[in-house]
Subunit: 400 residues, 2 copies
């Protein structure tokens, strides 16, 4: 590719991303956002419409007069899929580039059945969802997948996962590349959920300028993990391990052994499994995180006390992270986020008490906006982001 | 500015930064790094040479044959300055865009004398250094300044500093804008030091591909702070507070009161002042960090024991941060880095024991490469980075 073409693609990518993120969806908003001239924007927008990537539609006339034409990503030939794989669930969605979900399904799975069975099911389900949306296979151009373990991002390979039996060394994209003409992006499930919550708040935050710049997604469930979106991109760190906060040590708990072999890890005292264990010691029947959530939801005071204690302990870990990283948004998700009254109050209390005042001045601490759909929508949004990147957009619109 | 000109400037900025960082310093290296054609690079390089930003020189012929022509930033009309202000020292350097220091000086100051006196001295010293380098004032085009307190980066305003009496609300660039035709960038001193160590390793790491991507600079002195460079830029966080790790709470020290009003902060037990306090309780005369360093350097075993204990405590905080952020490089600087044998061994030991194995697999933990010059060189490099940015380069080379 020559220089001028490469630069044109970069500029078209920037424009398409503004529309996809909801940051600028009219020609004048794009002029303001990019600083380019009206004529230059018109030329690019017209090209993207002609090549089938953008559409321009007239919104309903309101009593405030005729609104400007609105740009959106085209939906007639380009689709992405999001796949969220958990230990025991899978959720799959087929989405347009503009973020409209055409078909979605959720299933019970066992991740320990291994990649052949689990990813075979994903393929079958993708085909079923495409059929349900009445779209040919060829429309699917990118697939984002979140898995419950560490992933080497550049190759999509699962690396020594603690809970995914049979997956070590599995290069996930290989299961899809001869089936679909689609790029496959694979990431840790918590990163994908973080990106989902980020992308959702980006669209929602345009009007009141509350779009996050540094967002942490903290998943509290059977384990405890964290996804980081900073400056618009997932922060994966030097070896893809960033956000792995479950084994950060807490003060005063040196006698509690964690399954990792260290002592005092937050996961060993504040995760769903840890709370269930503590409850059993108190004579309350609880086999895992789901029992804890159910009992707390029923108002059992001993269970609620244990959940609040867990909230304070998670808050202690997050207070240190807030002082170090200075995020503007912390989203608490996972099964425990359903107990937001108990859990969030204590997490918030400790963070505001312990972290630096300057670092918490504008910090929002919220429960998940997308709930159990954060992963599937985040995975699909990662796929959109890839398709609209400088590298991806050329494959869609052809020579420029 | 029209679109085409804006894009040409962005491309020229990218090229100039590759040369400045040492990442690509020959025409063929730039071709590889950018993916642009040889002709396109030639056209840009020739333009930058013609406009006086780049020079091309022939290195000495070696026994391996004639080496290619090497590109460097021009040094004859464009200078930057770095200013590192500490509580009791100031260090100032005048540097070429290519990183060659022409004149440098260090002085004892008292930051509590306030901005009028301290920044007045900086101006006088800058003039003296320019004179020493035999350069007119007009050659100075950007000044980077590090100060020992929180700074609002966008305006260069000092915000509620704990130790800088009389500086609260001071907009530092205002002291320079009618004196020099130079942009002024102001940042927290630890951020500036982090950027200095990063830029130094970037140049050094080109040959063996060890250039850092996620670097933390941990300053251990009277207090404890941290600067973060991630993806090539300083991570300042949502409100500029990122890296403020001195008040992270340590396990098992709930009875130690910190000057911030909380208990168990790492700064309250592992900083220079804290160690000096602990030594006084043991009957050893030590008024501050410098006494601790002197006594430990003399081999006093009790002092060394206290320093090693501090190292372990700093290591505990850093272990949590490593699990969260997954950096590839941690640089330990500040006055205590001189005691690297004692301090570093214990910091390393705790990090490798406590942080996740995946996160420490490729982690380098080193002492400062630039020592007490990290701040002044980092500040100057921030100034270079600004001048060569898309926005800055137009002011240097004129219309393109």
């Amino acid at each position: 590719m020559n220089t001028a073409a490469a630069r044109r693609l970069a500029s078209l990518s920037e424009l398409a991303c503004l529309v996809a993120d909801g940051t600028a969806t009219t020609r004048s908003a794009i002029v303001s956002a990019t600083g380019l001239s009206r004529a230059a924007i018109a030329q690019r927008v017209d090209l993207l419409i002609e090549r089938g990537l953008l559409v321009e539609t007239e919104p309903a006339v309101t009593d405030r007069g005729r609104p400007p034409l609105t740009l959106d990503l085209a939906s007639h030939e380009l689709l992405v899929a999001g796949v969220d794989l958990g230990a025991s669930h899978s959720r799959i969605a087929v989405m347009t580039l503009g973020g409209h979900v055409l078909a979605e399904s959720a299933q019970q799975i066992d991740i320990n059945d291994g990649p052949d069975k689990v990813l075979g099911n994903v393929r079958a389900e993708l085909d079923a969802l495409l059929a349900q949306a009445e779209r040919p296979t060829g429309h699917l151009r990118a697939i984002g997948i979140g898995v419950p373990g560490p992933v080497e991002w550049s190759t999509g390979t699962v690396v020594r996962p603690p809970i995914m039996q049979g997956w070590d060394g599995c290069r996930v994209p290989g299961f899809f590349e001869h089936v679909y003409d689609a790029s496959v992006l694979v990431d840790n499930d918590v990163n994908v959920m973080a990106f989902g919550e980020y992308a959702h708040r980006l669209v929602a935050g345009v009007a009141d300028q509350s779009a996050p710049e540094h967002l942490l997604y903290v998943k509290v469930g059977t384990g405890i993990g964290c996804g980081i979106v900073s400056g618009g991109a997932v922060h994966r760190g030097a070896s893809g391990a960033a956000g792995d906060i479950g084994h950060i040590q807490l003060p005063g708990l040196e006698d509690v052994l964690c399954h990792c072999g260290n002592t005092g890890c937050v996961e060993a005292v504040a995760s769903g499994s840890a709370i269930a264990g503590a409850l059993r010691q108190l004579g309350i029947e609880a086999t895992g995180a789901q029992d804890v959530v159910r009992l707390a939801g029923q108002g059992n005071p001993v269970v609620r006390q244990q959940v609040r204690l867990a909230g304070r302990r998670i808050g202690e870990v997050l207070a240190s992270i807030v002082s170090f990283h200075n995020p503007d948004t912390i989203v608490v998700g996972g099964i425990f986020a359903q107990l937001h009254e108990d859990l969030l109050a204590d997490i918030r209390g400790v963070i505001y008490r312990r972290a630096l005042p300057l670092a918490t001045r504008t910090l929002a601490i919220e429960t998940s906006a997308l709930g159990e759909r954060a992963g599937v929508l985040g995975a699909a949004k990662l796929a959109v982001r890839h398709l609209l990147s400088s590298a991806g957009i050329g494959a869609i619109i052809g020579d420029v």
